[in-house]
């Protein structure tokens, strides 16, 4: 049975602070009865306010949760509490045959994943009428092309009039043109334009950043104009940047990369009612990075559970791109415990290059894909330090990277406390000028730095 879970990882699964707190409160042995475990399943019964105890179970292979309580949160406090109990005192769980209510669920999960696998291996038989599809694509192409021409003229207008007065313009200037791009079915362009509104009002240095972003968009438009002359992966990149989403089926048809993927970092951002989660993976055999992007609405949980610091034995397929990072999970080992124990600090130490090596690969990536927004940096033997008001990372040669200037002080101090002035291994997102640290390894232990 796996005992690799730590309470921090478990609590990171909580949908909100209240659930974490309540889960903690319930993670006490005497509140539970018939705690059991079999292969990758654990279960238990928790006495709640109702007459019958709630039946809670976890399939650790994902992990996936199920509970008979009426809570709409996911995982619910019972699921979290059961998981915490396992992480903290696994000796309380008796190895035994699962009771019916557990066995049924496990069976239904296995069947479901088999069906899914079947579906993926079967060629698509009932593809929609190819003629109609081509027609729809052509119509969209036309719309996008018109949008691109419109935006090109708009950008040139701005340059003709000069950028100096932009900070005095209202946000509406940007909203209007962004809305036009949404109409033109180019949401990727719309997002970049909305971001620009923030850049223009960002204070000192705004004009450099604004011109750089505008020229990036222009480069994108130029590329689209002669898209047919470009290599296929650049074509795909341009479509992605414009926001011409490629279907998951199409992505999954690509080449699969099997590896033991270490989850090196995760970041969840709230955009209005939408939660956006970036999970960064590092393939230990292939030494490649990958990023899984997930979305969840409102209180809804993310579909798959991905715990930073743990490993995922999976086949990934990359989205076609000039510099492939974003990927989808094609298959994931289900209901089977990991065959290898996840590597700790030493495993990572061996796998990654020095700061200069990482910078070199960043340069390559940027040259291949000028529109790259975050680059994963896995850094070996760097020392965090405080320099006036700045936080820096310094490597053995004395080279430094600045950390995010808006880093929460608490995070900076935690980094400093963990290192004590000694080198550590760190993972973060590099945006070309600043690094947002997401995780650290010190003395074999993994620490997620909550943002």
């Amino acid at each position: 049975m796996q005992t690799q879970w730590t309470p921090e990882q478990v609590l990171a699964l909580a949908p909100d602070a209240a659930s974490a707190k309540n889960g903690r409160g319930l993670a006490i042995g005497h509140k539970w009865s018939s705690l059991g475990t079999h292969q990758s399943a654990v279960w238990g019964e928790c006495q709640g306010s109702g007459k019958n105890p709630y039946r809670t179970q976890i399939d650790l292979s994902e992990p996936a949760f199920r509970c008979s309580c009426p809570s709409r949160k996911f995982p619910c406090k019972h699921g979290l509490a059961l998981f915490l109990l396992l992480a903290e005192q696994s000796s309380g769980f008796a190895e035994q045959e699962p009771p019916d209510w557990v066995a049924e669920w496990l069976l239904s999960r296995t069947q479901r994943s088999q069906k899914q696998a079947q579906k993926e291996t079967q060629p698509k038989e009932q593809t929609a009428d190819p003629q109609a599809q081509a027609k729809r694509a052509a119509a969209r192409q036309q719309k996008v092309s018109a949008g691109i021409q419109e935006l090109r003229l708009w950008l040139e207008d701005r340059i003709r009039q000069g950028l100096a007065t932009l900070p005095q313009e209202s946000y509406q200037l940007w909203d209007t043109v962004a809305a036009r791009m949404v109409d033109a079915q180019a949401p990727g362009l719309a997002r970049r334009l909305r971001d620009l509104a923030g850049t223009v009002h960002s204070g000192a240095g705004w004009c450099d950043a604004t011109l750089a972003s505008m020229s990036q968009i222009y480069l994108l438009l130029e590329g689209c104009d002669r898209i047919e002359t470009l290599p296929p992966e650049v074509q795909a990149e341009l479509r992605t940047q414009i926001g011409w989403a490629i279907s998951q089926e199409e992505v999954l048809a690509g080449k699969a990369h099997a590896d033991l993927w270490l989850i090196v970092g995760q970041r969840i951002q709230q955009e209005d009612r939408l939660k956006v989660r970036r999970t960064w993976l590092y393939g230990l055999e292939s030494s490649t990075s990958a990023m899984l992007l997930d979305f969840a609405h409102g209180q809804q949980p993310f579909e798959q559970t991905l715990l930073p610091g743990t490993c995922l034995e999976a086949e990934l397929v990359f989205y076609p791109s000039a510099y492939p990072l974003r990927a989808l999970v094609k298959t994931r080992r289900e209901s089977v415990p990991l065959s290898k124990s996840p590597p700790g600090y030493a495993g990572i130490e061996d796998a990654i290059a020095s700061l200069t090596g990482q910078v070199a690969s960043y340069s390559q990536a940027y040259a291949a894909c000028p529109w790259l927004e975050q680059f994963p940096l896995l850094l070996q033997a760097v020392v965090p330090l405080r320099d006036g008001e700045r936080w820096l990372l310094r490597d053995a040669q004395g080279l430094v990277l600045p950390l995010l200037s808006r880093l929460k002080p608490q995070q900076g101090w935690q980094l400093l406390a963990l290192s004590g002035g000694h080198p550590l291994t760190l993972f973060g997102e590099w945006n070309g000028t600043e690094l947002l640290p997401l995780s650290v390894w010190v003395e074999e232990a993994f620490y997620g730095l909550a943002s």
Partner: protein
């Protein structure tokens, strides 16, 4: 990102700010392939040429970016020869309390870690140091568990300076008033002689308010060796300094001040050796300058004046500065008998409060027990004449076992009930209970909670007190405490409070267990 001042990029930015309709755009020059690319742009429309040049230049800059060399100096790394960290599990309890769950138990956590010679896991240091910054009273508990790592970290943040290595003699010479005070305090606990010499050297130049504060440090390590200095201070310009000096001298029963007051006081209080001995009290008619010199204050405060006249106030202070041994040696009877004679006397308040003040100053456990014997037997709340001579502060003078014994007696044979105000306030002011006291309180609680509907006026007090009880009950009594819950009648109004009470006890029990495990096991 560092753009150079007269770079091609700067030229493009300037042109973009101005706009191509005001000034035609000419593509900047650059060496190498970048220059070739820029040169090709002449055939483009000006706006297109500008945006394309900007795209090429910013991409060129970004892709060619290289980290800078650090020129500053970083602090030396922290020594790795440090206290062992507490177990991961124990650390998690700390984390929970730092997130304000069960935070009243934090002092116990810090105490346990200190006892075991362990330190806080590194990642929690910033939060703990912040907490110490906000809550002064936690600092002395936090300091021993920081380890080298914690002090190393604190040295880099001004907000955490309280946790950095102690003040030095240089601080005394040139530091801020707070640093000087800190240094003097520390020195006082290690080398009181040296501390006094340092202060004496600068005494006459210090401002009055600082002199009072410096003098307060004499409470640590106070001895007869301090007497000459304090006698001198009795003639100080500042009234506050004089008052503090008199108070300190009155805390030294062998001091000349105490002897002088004993001589005075024996002219006013007599024990008549009749068959039933009685006390005679003659209030002083006037206050001579010698007594004022020795710190007897002529005017009572407004609060004291509501209870005592002027002359009674003088006598009370004189008793308060008389060595307690004087009474038992003169009259050849023990303290309990002496205070018994004062009971129900016309001047009971003057006598008992005076002795209480002396007992507090002289830290005399026998007298405290004698006084508590009288005051607790009545079970009524006494209003102390002097606010710093409250029952709970008198109780603090006793040893831990004595304190618990007094409270057990109060509950078992005295008028004490677990829900009365006096008993509750004394129980709540203790930092720990003996096993016996905890058992006695649990017996009372069981009886009270299972049989009585809570009276409205006392209920709230007890609800709040239950949480504090859970902090001081020895955790070995957890099974006994669980019975409390089982004995509750259905729908008891106490159910929620008792549940919280038990939750806190269980939390403590698990916390103690967490210190017993090691990470490797």
């Amino acid at each position: 990102m560092g753009w150079q001042a007269d770079s091609p990029w700067q030229a493009v930015v300037s042109a973009a700010l101005l706009g191509t309709e005001r000034q035609p755009f000419t593509s900047p020059t650059a060496p190498g392939k970048l220059g070739q690319l820029l040169a090709q742009l002449t055939s483009h429309a000006p706006e297109s040429a500008l945006l394309t040049a900007a795209a090429a230049l910013s991409l060129h800059q970004r892709a060619g970016w290289f980290p800078e060399n650090y020129s500053g100096s970083a602090p030396a790394p922290c020594s790795l020869d440090d206290l062992p960290r507490c177990s991961t599990r124990a650390g998690r309890f700390l984390q929970q309390m730092l997130q304000r769950q069960y935070s009243p138990v934090l002092p116990e956590w810090l105490g346990l870690a200190t006892q075991l010679g362990q330190r806080v896991p590194d990642i929690y240091l910033p939060q703990l140091l912040n907490l110490g910054q906000q809550q002064r009273d936690l600092r002395s508990l936090i300091l021993p568990v920081l380890g080298q790592r914690g002090r190393w970290l604190a040295a880099q943040n001004l907000d955490w300076s309280y946790a950095v290595e102690v003040a030095t003699e240089a601080d005394w010479e040139t530091g801020s008033q707070a640093a000087r005070l800190l240094y003097l305090k520390e020195l006082r606990s290690q080398d009181p002689e040296r501390a006094r010499e340092l202060l004496a050297a600068t005494w006459s130049h210090e401002p009055a308010s600082d002199r009072t504060q410096f003098l307060e440090t004499f409470r640590t390590g106070l001895s007869l060796a301090d007497e000459p200095f304090l006698e001198e201070a009795l003639t100080d310009r500042s009234k506050e300094v004089r008052r503090t000096a008199a108070d300190l001298l009155a805390s030294l029963p062998e001091s000349r001040l105490c002897q002088r007051l004993a001589e005075q006081v024996q002219q006013h209080i007599f024990l008549n050796p009749t068959q039933v001995p009685t006390l005679t009290v003659q209030l002083p008619d006037s206050l001579n300058p010698a007594l004022i010199h020795d710190g007897i204050e002529p005017k009572p405060s407004q609060f004291v004046a509501t209870q005592l006249g002027e002359k009674a106030w003088w006598l009370l202070q004189m008793i308060g500065a008389t060595p307690l041994s004087f009474w038992s040696e003169t009259w050849k009877i023990p303290p309990a008998e002496i205070v018994g004679h004062a009971k129900d006397h016309e001047w009971e308040a003057v006598l008992l409060e005076g002795w209480a003040l002396a007992a507090k100053r002289q830290q005399n456990a026998d007298w405290v027990q004698a006084l508590l014997g009288i005051w607790l037997a009545e079970g009524v709340v006494r209003t102390p004449v002097l606010p710093d001579v409250r029952l709970d502060s008198l109780l603090n003078i006793l040893s831990f076992n004595q304190q618990s014994a007094v409270l057990v007696d109060l509950l078992k044979s005295g008028p004490g009930k677990v829900n009365d105000f006096l008993t509750l306030s004394l129980l709540r002011s203790r930092d720990g209970w003996s096993l016996k006291l905890a058992e006695t309180v649990l017996d009372h609680l069981e009886d009270y909670l299972s049989h009585q509907n809570p009276a409205m006026n006392q209920a709230w007090e007890l609800h709040a007190a239950l949480k504090e009880f859970a902090r001081v009950i020895p955790i070995g009594l957890l099974p006994r405490a669980v019975q409390l819950q089982e004995g509750l009648p259905p729908d008891s109004p106490w159910a929620a409070s008792v549940r919280e009470f038990l939750a806190l006890l269980r939390f403590r029990q698990k916390m103690v267990q967490a210190f017993e495990v090691t990470d490797s096991g």
